[in-house]
Structure formats: structure tokens, C-alpha cells
Amino acid sequence: MTKVFNSVVCTICGCLCDDLEVTVENNEIVKMKNGCAVCEAKMVHGYKSEERILKPHVRKDGKLVPVTMDEAIHKAAQILTDAKYPLLFGWTSSASETQHVGVELAEELGSALDNCCSVCHGPSVMATQEIGIPTATLGQIRHRADLIVYWACNPWSSHPRHVERYTAFTDGRFEKSEFKDYVQKLKAKSGQKKVAAAIRRTRVRYQPPPRPQTALVEAPPQTLAKDGRRMVVFDVMKTMTAEVADYFVQVEPNRDYEIFGALRCLVNDQELDVDTVGGVPVDYLKEIADVMVNAEFGAIFFGLGLTQSVGRFRNVELAIALTRDLNRKTKFVVSPMRGHFNVTGANTVFAWQTGYPFALDFSQGYPQYNPGEFTAIDLLRRGDNDATLVISADPGAHFPKGAMQNMVKHPLITINPDWNAISRLGDVVFPTQWCGIEQGGTAYRMDSVAITLKKVVEAPKGVPSDEEIVKRILEEVKVIKANKAEKEDTGKQVLQETAAPKKRGSKTLKKEL
């Protein structure tokens, strides 16, 4: 039986492309159209790999052995209630419905709660908290931007369809793309399907129209002065994205902050006392500042190159400050290239329930927030936690070794669909459905537009959704807590009864207890 699903949402990156066409045969995805190479890897191959977890596992005598769901739920809840200070981490590859329950679980436990945002665009969120952000939805940029700046990011690899769907290679109402025609011509010429696939996979590096070399030269290339939409890339190395840009500026590692500072001065027509900044001649930056000021609508996209290098959120802060300064002269927006498909959702859901987007702590009964204090890496680095629950994330592969070593010292619960690095390290391992393939839900695009995910195939038998697992753990935690409180109460009663004959005021006794 073949079924074709239209407008399916891709669950890889923050682009949340929602135009996939998925063909399902016998409850198995056999074909996918329109998606990028990474999407194809997940939706056609990866999701049904042999590495799938099908049963809950618990580590006994150092070995993971399959157990019943009830046992795993109870074990997990017991670990979390017994721990003095558990950490709940992950959430970014779950639907917002799951994240929603997650906050309640953390609140019930009084634990720390963090999402993957803290190791990707947490600094961007923090920068926003310092000075705000002038931003726009991606369509606004598609319709209007005549200058696109990719700063310290490589969408060609990390957000493969970003350029094609939202920026330089697409048409908007007020801005046409010369690339779009070019891509289309190319498609028509050499058989649409083949080339389309090739472009999708980004394996073919088709040459854009001839232009001067984009290495550091004295005078900026003519492409910058051309009409229509232009694309400029700032990065420490020449990436794929840089190769297709109109203009590429190679900056020294860890010097973005200085360059932003210099650009701010130049945009405001101030003079600098230095000749080069971060490996780029000031004269050169002047030209770029002019191009920025003369744009009708400019958009800066920045990536992990800013948030992970020296300076971190301060880098982003200055990128935003530059955008603000540019708004006095023209219209400019700035936007982070959010990674995981629902990392924005995690920030959003956490924020509306607690006021804070990540790095949360509930130990005081109310939410507390402070990156550096309650972020996963910092908690782990200091060894503050004595149990961890990881859901829909793989810190096993993406946290620095030092932090991970502290995590595995204590009990570890994992909820992931497949045997990724963290599942392999877990003490209680849950199987779960692939969000956006086997279960629906809601995800937030990088510009915080909510999109409904689609369910296209049935999950293997006995594999629940992560929402259900978290809900069941929450219920079990409540039961364990209630039992514990009851025990304490009977303990108290016994005490009171024994104390009663002595005629001591029960009030003072209660106080002592």
C-alpha cells in the first residue's frame, strides 16, 4: 500500500522546511522529495536503522538488559526522587508538547532543567536579554533583503536549504534572485530531477556566474556594487557557503568582536586609530560598512562561530548592536541560525511557563535562571548533580569529555529513539518514537513560527512517545513522593503519640521536626 504525504515537515535543523513529499509503502518511508541530504539520511534511512532501541533497558551488573516499561519507569522515577539534585537535559528534538511536561517534571522534582540551547545558541538568547534584537521572520527577509550577510556560519552544511528557501537563491516580492534563474536554467538543461537532487545534496559545486576571486584583495570586488540581492560571508575559513557568496571576508579566529566594534564605528562615520582589525584592512571594512548602509534591507545571519568562540554572547551582543546602529540609517535585521529543529521551541515553552528560556533551577520552589550557574555544562563541570535525565539529545557525542565524565559518575536516564552515544552510556534507557516521523507535535522554526509536525508511519510496537514517557515518570514521581510523605507522617504520628503522655506542646515538637 502506497501513500504519499504532502507538506511534511523536516525535523533536522531550525529551518523546519515544510514542503517535503514523503512516500510511504508498508509503513516504511521509501521516498522523499524536496528535502536536503541530511533530511534524506534521516527520513529515508536513519530512522529505520538497526541501531533503533525497541525495549527499555536497565543496567544490571554493568550490562544493559531489557526490562518492562513499568520497571524502567519506576526505576527512573526512583533515581530522580532519591537524588539530591538531578539535572534534566535535552528537549530540543522533542515536540513542544513534551517540553511542556518536562517543565512540570522539573518543578515537581525541584531539579535543574536545561536544554541544548546552552551549547548552541544560548549565548544568542543571553545577548538578546542584554540588548534586545531587531529581527524578522524568514519570509520578510526573502521578500525584501537586498543584502544577506552570513557571519560565522555555514548554512550550506548546517542548514542546507536556508539559502535556497529564504535568502540568496529565492525570489521575494520586492527582491529577485539572479541565482534562482540560474539554478532553474541549470535544472532545465541537464534533466531536472538529477540536478535538483545533486543540488540538494550539495555535492555538485556548480559555478555561479563569473566573478573576481574572493580572496583578500585591495579593492573590493565589483560584485558588491552590483544591483539586486547580494550575499556576503564572514568566516574564519572558506566554507561551501563562502564559495557561492558574492563576497567572502576571511577573519582571524576569535576576532569577530573587534570587527563588529570597528564596523559600528565606521557605520557611524567615525575614524579608527588602527589599520587592520582581525586580519582585515580597515579600508576594506569601510567599503563593507558603505555597502551595509546603502542596502535597502539588510539581514545578518550568524552561527555558532560567534557563540562558541572567545567572547561567546558578547560577540552576538555586538552583532546586534551593529544591526541597531544600522537601523538608524536603513533597515536591518539580525537572526541566529538555530540548530536543532525545536531548540527555539524549548526556549519558547520554558519561557512562557517560567519566564526563562533555559538554564533553570527549581530547587527553591520557584524558577531561578542563570547561565553559568544552572547550565548543564557548568553543573557537570562542578559536579553539582547526582543524577541526570537526558531526553532527545546526545551529549555523549556533543559535550566535552570532562563534563561527560562527571555525568556518568552518577545514575543516568536516557530517552532517545536510537542507540546514540548517550543511550550507550545510560543506566536506564528508554526507547521512543521519532518525533515528526512516528509522532506529530509542534515545533518552532528559528524565527519562532510554530509549525505542526506530521506523523507519517506507525512506530514499532511497544515504543511510546517521549511525551508519554515523561508523563509516566512524572506520575510515578508524584506517587513515590506521596508514599514518602505518608511514611514521614506516620513517623511523626508515632512520635507525637509517644510524646503525648509527656504533655509537651505539640507545637514546639512540630517546630523541632
Binding site: E130, Y257, G261, R264, C265, V310, A321, F362
Partner: protein
């Protein structure tokens, strides 16, 4: 004097804003023992975590903490009067929002020490963590007054949004020293990492060692033979004086010692 000694080694963080002279004053020893704190998610009493003794013969310091308090957060938060001495390391937020009195740390101190401080004195005879004297996230009102003395080094982002008072660092300083500073003085005895004074609009930073890299958004103003740290202390130069951050139209000043900063000599041509 009340003395607190940890009963055991703490593994999870403890929040104990009640270790505060204002809170202890007027309470009996038993009442102090019953003050509640949190250890991780558990609420416990001060007595559960610490051995507490009282010595009525000694007046100052009012509270002495002996042992490793590096996991204990918010010691002396918002304190108005009195003196706390910590013989060991202190945790995060020590002396946060201090509005009077004195805190002495005979060891290292954690992040956000003296955050949003208004008045009083914090002496750290070791190193101090990141965000010392810097405000909470999203807040643009930093340290308003008082004095922080650090014998050792400090971490990054120290003295952000500072509006007054003095931070005297005898060791070296991390990145973003005096970020967005509005007023007040920061003195660094040794070297200073990159991006000192970024976005500053007022106040002064005196660097008695090497400056790793000056922000391009600073412009040289003059060379001065000496500079005042406060009413009584003077740093001997000569110093290069830089004005900035011009991207913020600021008029903050960075004084960088000429002798330790030969790389800055190429600015002299603009004088």
C-alpha cells in the same frame, strides 16, 4: 561571634542566603540552627549541614565560616551591617547586593561575588570568579559603590555596568573587564586580557601590566605621568590614556602602563 563549620563535604550546591549578620542578629543559637537552607532540592536546617557554635566574648567578626564553603551560595547576600570572615573558599553570589558591612574571604571566591553591590567592603585574599561585581543577567545597573579588593586574579566579565565604587585587583584580569562601565574605577595590578572596557561609556580602568589587545574602538588621548586610584592612592606611570568606547560614543578612560605595553607605542603617532 557565631562560627560555622561544615559537617561533611558537600557535593550538591547549598543556597544559604541566611548566613547573614542581619539575619543572625537578635536570634538565639537554637533559632540560628533552625534556619532553613536548601541542599540541592532538599530543604534542611543550617544545623543539618554545619556545626554551629557561639562565642559571646568576641564581637567582630560577627560570623566566622571555617572550611570549604565553595558549594555554599549567597553568603551575606544583601547584608547591611556587620562582618563575615570566611576561612576557606566561598561559593557563588557571596556578598551579592551588599549594602554595608564587610566580608573577608581567606581563600577564593565564586562567580557573581559582590554582584550589584551598593556599599561596604569585600576583601578576597585569593582569586575571584567570573562576573565579580557584575549585575544579574539582563540588568544594566552594576556595582554602585563600595570597595572590592582581590589579592589574586579575577575571571571574565568583571565590573560590568559598574556605576561607582572601586575594584582593586592585585593580580591579573580576564576578558571584558569593565564591560559597559558607566562610572567608577577598576585597577589591575598585573596583566589584562582582551576587550577591556568594551562598550564603556565612562569611568576608568587602570592597567599596571600588559594589555593583551586593545579594542579598535578606543582612541588615544594622551600620556599621563600618574593617575589617582582613589582619594589616597596614586598609580605611578607614565600611562597611555585611551578614550572610548567610541562605538558607544563613550568617554571612558583606559590607563595602560607605558613600560609594560611596548605594542601600544604605534598609537603615539596620533598624539
Amino acid at each position: 561571634m557565631i562560627t560555622l563549620t561544615p559537617k561533611r563535604t558537600f557535593t550538591v550546591p547549598i543556597q544559604a542566603a541566611c548566613i547573614n549578620v542581619d539575619v543572625f542578629t537578635g536570634k538565639t543559637l537554637q533559632e540560628i540552627k533552625n534556619l532553613s537552607i536548601t541542599e540541592g532540592k532538599e530543604t534542611i536546617t543550617l544545623n543539618d549541614a554545619f556545626d554551629i557554635t557561639e562565642d559571646k566574648t568576641i564581637e567582630t567578626p560577627n560570623i566566622t565560616l571555617t572550611g570549604d564553603f565553595s558549594k555554599v551560595k549567597r553568603i551575606g547576600q544583601g547584608m547591611k551591617t556587620g562582618e563575615i570572615v570566611i576561612n576557606g573558599d566561598a561559593g557563588m553570589h557571596t556578598g551579592e547586593k551588599l549594602s554595608g558591612g564587610k566580608i573577608v574571604v581567606n581563600g577564593n571566591s565564586g562567580g557573581w561575588t559582590g554582584s550589584e553591590m551598593k556599599k561596604g567592603l569585600i576583601e578576597i585574599h585569593g582569586n575571584s570568579g567570573d562576573y565579580t561585581a557584575s549585575p544579574y543577567r539582563g540588568t544594566s545597573t552594576g556595582m554602585r559603590g563600595g570597595l572590592i579588593i582581590v589579592d589574586g586574579d579575577v575571571g571574565t566579565d568583571v565590573g560590568c555596568y559598574m556605576q561607582g565604587g572601586l575594584i582593586k585587583i592585585n593580580g591579573s584580569a580576564g576578558r571584558y573587564l569593565g564591560f559597559h562601565m558607566l562610572d567608577g574605577t577598576i585597577y589591575v595590578g598585573k596583566d589584562c586580557s582582551i576587550r577591556a572596557g568594551a562598550c564603556m561609556t565612562g569611568g576608568k580602568i587602570i592597567i599596571n601590566g600588559a594589555v593583551e589587545l586593545l579594542m579598535p574602538t578606543f582612541t588615544i588621548d594622551s600620556v599621563k605621568p600618574k593617575v589617582k586610584i582613589d582619594a589616597t592612592q596614586i598609580a605611578q606611570g607614565p600611562f597611555y590614556v585611551f578614550l572610548g568606547d567610541i562605538a558607544e560614543h563613550g568617554t571612558g578612560k583606559i590607563f595602560a602602563l607605558k613600560a609594560t605595553n611596548p605594542t601600544l607605542s604605534n598609537y603615539e603617532k596620533y598624539l
